[in-house]
């Protein structure tokens, strides 16, 4: 007897819309004339994202654990994280569509005649848009998935396009390809861990659903060794995605090598998805076993914050610096997981938005600083940018200050709420370390500000290209969100508060 599964299409619709958009994008790639492809692709992607967002908002108040049997839960956290991903993705798409960031023909050998031909024809390939949409769909699925299979599939859907996109840079293609390779190999390696962990959780509980695992843990129904192995291996996969130490090594290399808009997209959206999934797994499935994993996550959080902050101090490449900053932030985000309470969830949600916009904004600025050979990421050549274009440099400083958690920026409220949550959860150690790390982290944020504003520009200095309208939009949005959430965070805090629930 086979009962067809009941699928709640309305609640799945945001993801489906994105997938549909991605498929249309593939079609566009095949059927639309090269000269118009870029425009069409952009519009398709943007409309898709907006449509998905609208759909998401129309169903935002519905709650269900049975959207697709047990595999997908539509709850407050899902809505919030999907919406965050969509909004960030919208701006990331604008950034991606900006001219000249992507290779004309990815298959052409760097430095070959093919490449020059493809380049001079101006026939840029535009597969990046459908790839992005696929990745977005995976990202949206990841934090909402409630069984191990779906989680794994979602993880792969979001990762595989990113591996490819990392290799699409127009300039410094060798580096870009290397980034793709590293990202891919290590990503696949970590997925293996994730899957293996899933297998053991299944072995422990006999079920693939998170709720089932939670029930099994409460009943301590299985072999504890399996549970521990399962938790550890699953954790490796998740920690890899958010870039926590010691699974972080890929981050600086990939952030540096990937095309900057992709880095921005990846840094902002992947983090939301991965942290979201991690939150769900730990809050829903593993919360009963917190004695065992909490100390470990605490230690990892502390080490991650410290390593991220300390390593960033002496970096010379802007993108690498931002990568280490993102590692440090992974540590801060882990605090929210350690907190394991509603405030922690709320704080993490807020943190993700704040961090996402600041990160996107920061990478947007990176795309603007150029010389004749393309983007300049060597920090020594950013010297004195504040004099040449105070607004752009000022925006960059704002993002850095937000990363540093200076009051009246979104980062401050984010840190404040996440520390509060941890404190409330009784974990003062992590707060103390968080505070110390913030101090260390400040050092390198300030170092960059000093370079930008307090050092005389050198003669070979780079130029800041005039941002296009699209890029200006991204920049403006990031600046506005960063300031607004710092000055009047209630608007988002209230939302986060009401959406910060996991249906079990």
């Amino acid at each position: 007897m086979f009962t067809p599964p009941h699928l709640n299409y309305a609640l799945l619709a945001p993801i489906l819309i994105i997938l549909a958009g991605a498929l249309i994008g593939v079609g566009v790639e095949a059927f639309v004339r090269k000269s118009q492809r870029a425009t069409v692709q952009l519009w398709v992607a943007l409309i898709t994202v907006v449509a998905a967002l609208i759909e998401l908002l129309t169903v935002r108040n519905q709650r269900s654990t049975l959207v697709a049997i047990d595999s997908f839960t539509f709850d407050g956290a899902t809505v919030f994280m999907q919406a965050t991903i969509l909004v960030l993705a919208f701006f990331a798409l604008l950034l991606i569509s900006d001219r000249g960031n992507f290779v004309a023909q990815a298959s052409a050998i760097p430095g070959s005649e093919d490449e020059r031909t493809a380049d001079s024809d101006g026939k840029t390939q535009t597969e990046v848009f459908p790839l992005t949409l696929f990745a977005i769909s995976g990202m949206m699925l990841f934090p909402a998935a409630t069984d191990l299979i779906t989680l794994f599939v979602a993880l792969e859907i979001l990762s595989l396009p990113l591996y490819l996109m990392a290799g699409l840079s127009r300039r410094r293609r060798l580096l870009s390809q290397e980034a793709a390779l590293k990202y891919f190999l290590l990503g696949a390696y970590s997925s293996a861990f994730f899957l293996f962990g899933g297998a053991f959780l299944y072995g422990y509980s006999g079920t693939l659903t998170l709720n089932g695992i939670a029930a099994a843990i409460s009943a301590s129904a299985g072999n504890d060794i399996f549970l521990l192995l399962g938790i550890v291996f699953l954790m490796v996969g998740l920690l890899f995605k958010i870039g926590a130490v010691p699974f972080h090594s890929w981050t600086p290399d990939v952030y540096q090598g990937a095309p900057t808009p992709i880095t921005g997209f990846m840094a902002a959206c992947t983090k939301v998805a991965a942290v979201g999934a991690m939150l769900r797994i730990f809050y829903v499935a593993l919360s009963a076993d917190l004695i065992e994993w909490r100390p470990i996550v605490t230690v990892i959080s502390i080490i991650t914050m410290l390593v991220g902050a300390i390593a960033a101090m002496t970096q010379r490449d802007v993108k690498r610096t931002l990568a280490f900053s993102s590692i440090a932030h992974a540590g801060f985000l882990l605090i929210g997981i350690v907190a394991l309470n509603q405030s922690g969830l709320k704080a993490t949600l807020f943190y993700l938005v704040a961090y996402g916009f600041a990160t996107l904004g920061a990478f947007t600025v990176v795309t603007l600083v150029r010389d004749s050979a393309g983007e300049v990421t060597d920090m020594n050549r950013w010297v004195g940018l504040g004099k040449k274009s105070p607004l752009i440099a000022g925006a960059f400083c704002l993002f850095l200050l937000s990363f540093g958690g200076i009051p009246l920026t979104s980062g401050f409220i984010a840190k404040f709420s996440i520390f509060t949550a941890a404190y409330e959860g009784g974990n003062t150690t992590i707060v103390v370390f968080g505070v110390l790390t913030s101090a260390i982290a400040l050092f390198f944020y300030l170092r960059v500000i000093v370079l930008l504003f307090f050092t005389e520009p050198k003669s070979d200095a780079v130029s800041v290209s005039i941002p296009s309208l699209k890029v200006s939009c991204v920049l403006a949005a990031s600046v506005i969100v960063t300031i607004l959430l710092g000055v009047y965070p209630s608007i988002l805090l209230n939302t986060a508060q009401s959406f910060a629930t996991f249906l079990r």
Binding site: L181, K182, L185, L186, Y189, S190, F193, D224, L228, L229, I231, V232, F233, M235, V236, F240, V245, P246, F247, S249, W250, P252, D253, I291, E292, W293, P295, I296, V299, V307, I310, A311, A312, M313, T314, I440, F443
Partner: protein, 629 residues
Amino acid sequence: MTTRANLVYLIALPLFSSAFLMLLGKIANKWGHFFATAISASTFGIGIVEFIAMRSRSGDARAATQHLFEWISVGTFRVDASLLLDQLSICFVLLITGVGTLIHIYSIAYMSHDVDRRRFFAYLNLFIAAMLLLVLGDSYLNLYVGWEGVGLASYLLIGFWNQKPAYATAAKKAFVANRVGDVGLSLAIMIAFTQFGSVTFAGVKDGAPHASAAALTAIGAMLLLAAAGKSAQFPLQSWLGDAMAGPTPVSALIHAATMVTAGVYLITRSNFIFDASSTARLLVVIVGAITLLFGAIVGTAKDDIKKALAASTMSQIGYMILATGLGPVGYAFAIMHLLTHGFFKASMFLGAGSVMHGMDDEVNMRRYGALGKVMPITAITFGLGYLAIIGVPPFAGFYSKDKIIETAFNAGGTKGILLGGAALLGAAITAFYMTRVFVLTFMGKKRWDDKAHPHESPSLMWIPMVLLSLGSVASGYLLSKGSALVHWLAPVVNSSNAEGGAELMKPIVVSALALGVVVLGVATAIIKYGRSVPIEAPAGSALTRFARRDLGQDDLNHQLLVLPGQAITRTLVATDFGFIDGVVRAVGWTLAYLSQSLKKIQNGYVRSYALLMTAGAIALLVTIWLVTL
């Protein structure tokens, strides 16, 4: 029952005059000195009026007060800006304004060639105001304001020619030494407040009988420290000699007649503290005795006329301090000596100024000689002061100093003999060095070279000298006649109630002894300096050389305070950079080092990243296994 009087003008007039002259700038150059002198004279006038009014009142009503405004009031700590003019303060008011006015007049001529004369007079007026505040304040804190005010005026005046680095240094030295004393005064006030909840003289007096001996001794000792600073007493005496860098009228007014005696005023004013603590009194007499000998010995070796006089001042104030430590009757004698000293020392300083005026600012007495002929008035007025200070009857010093020697002998026991002996020895040495000064300056053969054209000073200068010398002739007799001053001060210092104590020697014996040693001293000096005096000072004995070096006071300070102070400063500067800031920098370096080390992990090889991940996974496994154990 208190009398109210309008006393504020005594302070306000000179204070505003001073500010006025400073702010007005060059416009007032032409008439500023006259204005300042007029103001000073008018304060003297007010003083006279108040004195007459006070005499006309009787008993408790003699003291007059004026409450101006609430100055500081926090919790129970309440200090009003409020003035008190009683029998003790009026003595000072008259001395300050009287001598002060004479010196203003003198200075008009003395400073006539100085471009900054207006500023000089502004400072003088500032000094008068501060000094009057010192003696008129009705609480220790008000006194403190005046106390430091005169310190400031003194600093400004010593350093009046501060373009000469040595003079600027002298001014600074005076201020700092005074500040050390001020620490004492501050602490005394703090202890008083802690003990009595009040810092007014009346409040402290009321509370004194209830306080513990230790507290009273502590207050007394701190007040003595303050007095030592201001009055150049041992061990804070070293600044006075250098203070002679100031214009001579300043030396006369501030560093001889008035300011330096503030310590005597302070102790006398605080008689209720010292009466109640014999330990404090003992400290006072020890300091007084040491200083009077110290100053006298230094005075024998100085060739600089002003420094010799300064040493003499130190010694004479030593007498006064000694007297204040001798109990109730001593206060009156101290004040009497203070007043007579005010006259004769001012007169001699002005004389010295007059000599310098005539000798192109030459101060070395070995280059004087026989000036009596060319400067007769100066010589006579100086001579009268000289006779007064060595205690030749019937000049003023005889009356006042004799009383102190006598009282010292009567202090009883070994103490009495030691103190009396010291005072007597001091008198002998005083006679010696003052004779030396007089002889070297006015008698013998001329030793100045032909470039100098000594001449008598203008009348504006010699009239004050004459008036002051008259005072040094007559004041002693007038004040001691019928124990006038003792009775006058009795309500303040209890002087007349004091029992006589065991009389060791009859007064007449003491006087005879004193006269005897004076004659001895004078004779020795005349024998030694009467005939030929080398222009270049002979090497002299070890003691002479030691005395010339102020008995090593500066060396001692240098070794004990300056060098350790510099060492501390150097050490702390090094510590601040090396250690405290160093720790901060070390944190930075450590982090940077760690950061560099972390870079090594990031070697670019995928395989080692994978290895790191694997190691991490294993570490997680081990940890979670440990956690579950």
